[in-house]
């Protein structure tokens, strides 16, 4: 165990403003959670927000003393049959085909609804109100290796982004937050990375890692977030990620070799930042990340 660190004031980047560091990747399983949890531990006074609400795992590494969950809902339409005239307006308005008007009733498909509110706002008979549809839990985990907030999507629920948005709003307006993002380059990753100052893309030197890294860089740049790279399994004999990053002006902030001992520690839910052998790597990463954020 590292002694509790006192953090020098120069780590707090800009007083009163949140510093958000996203940890993402194109390809899944490259080590996002490994980097996010250990980076948070190395920073010491940072909050970790686990935005991979489909498969949240940071809680395993936090080993929190207590968890406080609250339920999160999204609005879906509810039809007041006493007012509804079966006119069919709502079905025509709904761009997501979540409402079907049959001869004798109106059917609402909650899983297709995007909660835009158009049907309830535009119903000519004022027959549509909105009710809560359970989406998942937002959880605050305290007293562990680091402070953690995370979302846990209800199994079977397709819409992850509203829960991600909710968990992001739980991040305090001040201080440093590390955000563990979902894999891929689609809407869930976008929602998670949006608004960060820096996005650390975790990759591996394989054709898959490089291919997905290129897609991820494109996405991050579209969002006007600064990309940086961390190379996991850096000793693999695949494509040269460093060369690619140098050619594209993207800083490489750290590397971790392919090492069975690391995989074993990770498998047990342990933090590398708390093991003498690897602690330096993450302290170094912390310093590089903070200097990138301050740039």
């Amino acid at each position: 165990m590292l002694p509790a660190r006192t953090i020098s004031t120069d780590l707090s980047v800009s007083e009163g403003w949140p510093t958000k560091i996203a940890v993402a990747s194109g390809k899944g399983g490259t080590g996002k959670t490994l980097v996010a949890t250990n980076l948070t531990r190395a920073i010491g006074n940072a909050l970790l927000a686990d935005l991979d609400v489909e498969e949240p795992n940071c809680y395993i590494f936090a080993r929190a003393g207590s968890e406080e969950a609250h339920k999160v809902y999204r609005p879906v339409p509810s039809i007041d049959t006493s007012k509804c005239t079966l006119c069919g307006c709502c079905a025509k308005i709904c761009e997501f085909h979540a409402i079907a008007v049959l001869p004798k009733e109106v059917m609402v498909f909650h899983e297709l609804c995007h909660g835009c509110g158009a049907c309830s706002m535009l119903c000519p008979d004022d027959a549509i109100s909105e009710i809560d549809h359970f989406l998942g839990d937002a959880i605050v985990a305290k007293g562990g290796a680091f402070e953690l907030v995370y979302g846990r999507l209800k199994v079977g629920e397709a819409a992850a982004t509203p829960l991600i948005r909710h968990v992001k709003k739980m991040v305090p307006k001040e201080g440093i937050a590390v955000m563990d993002c979902p894999p891929g380059t689609a809407c869930t990753a976008v929602e998670s990375i949006r608004g960060a100052q820096l996005c650390v893309l975790v990759t591996e030197p394989t054709p898959f890692g490089l291919h997905d890294l290129k897609l991820a860089i494109e996405m991050v740049r579209k969002l006007k977030v600064r990309p940086a790279v961390f190379i996991n399994k850096s000793s693999l004999p695949g494509p040269d990620i460093e060369e690619f990053c140098n050619a594209h002006g993207i800083p490489v902030l750290g590397r971790l070799p392919l090492d069975r001992r690391i995989a074993e520690l990770y498998s047990r839910g342990e933090l590398l930042a708390e093991h003498g052998l690897y602690a330096d790597i993450f302290q170094d990463l912390r310093d590089r990340v903070m200097s990138e954020v301050r740039r």
Partner: protein, 300 residues
Amino acid sequence: MKEVVVVSGKGGTGKTTLLGYLASTIEKTVLADCDVDAPNLHLLVAPKILHREKFVGSKVAIIEGPKCTNCGKCVPICRYEAIKTVGNKMLVKVAIDAGSCEGCALCSRICPSKAIKMVDRVVGEWFISRTGFGKMVHALLEPGEENSGKLVAMVKQKTRLTAKEENAEMILIDGPPGIGCPVISTLSGADLVIIVTEPTESGLSDLQRIVELSKGFGLTIGLVTNKADLNEDITRRIEEKASEENVRVLGRIPYDNLLAETMAQGRTVDKCVASPAIQAMDEICSKMRAMLGETSPISG
């Protein structure tokens, strides 16, 4: 014809590795990659594209400049916070962030000056290709776009059509990680779901959620534990959990640096020298075929 989907919950557990091996071993297959926002299978099977088509996922709102009076009525009604006022007190303008717009069209419907138009949004492209292992249907979502679930549904539809044309006996589908909309779309209608997991606390946690999802759809599930000897204790817990959940254990693949290095060079595994991992995948393949035979004895 049987449809086999390989998923994992947690990313990077070895879906594509296993699928590449199955594709190189089983004949008369059609392949599909449903991981449309980070596809990888094509890197392994070197497809030659025969047909490509743009995919319109939804609509997006745009403001027709001259008509807009900058009244701002559209700003508060957008639930996705996609419409903002920009500029200073002297000159306020309304602007739409296409990235946040989900295409609900509410703004265009309520705009008093009819200044907001909904236009098609191309979110990606899909392909039918020829590979050394049969035809393959795949896609690429534009980075940062939404509607990956719809694009997955398109890939699946085209895969089934292609498989029919090719008289294929099996469809092998590489799935996306997670349990959200693209995964739900990938799983629908599968004859067998193979879940590839790894013996880590994270893998176990994610496994429970993808099993629950698959069972919710009433699907038949087979389980493969990759890097099984990394943590024997968790591997045992995974297999115990599987038997409780009525999930068939198809096998274990041992931790194998050679396999990692082969994949790092983008080669399918059948071409490299025999190893315990390959032997394990061979046994998994036979068990999978036996299991498919059981799911419907009068196989078409």
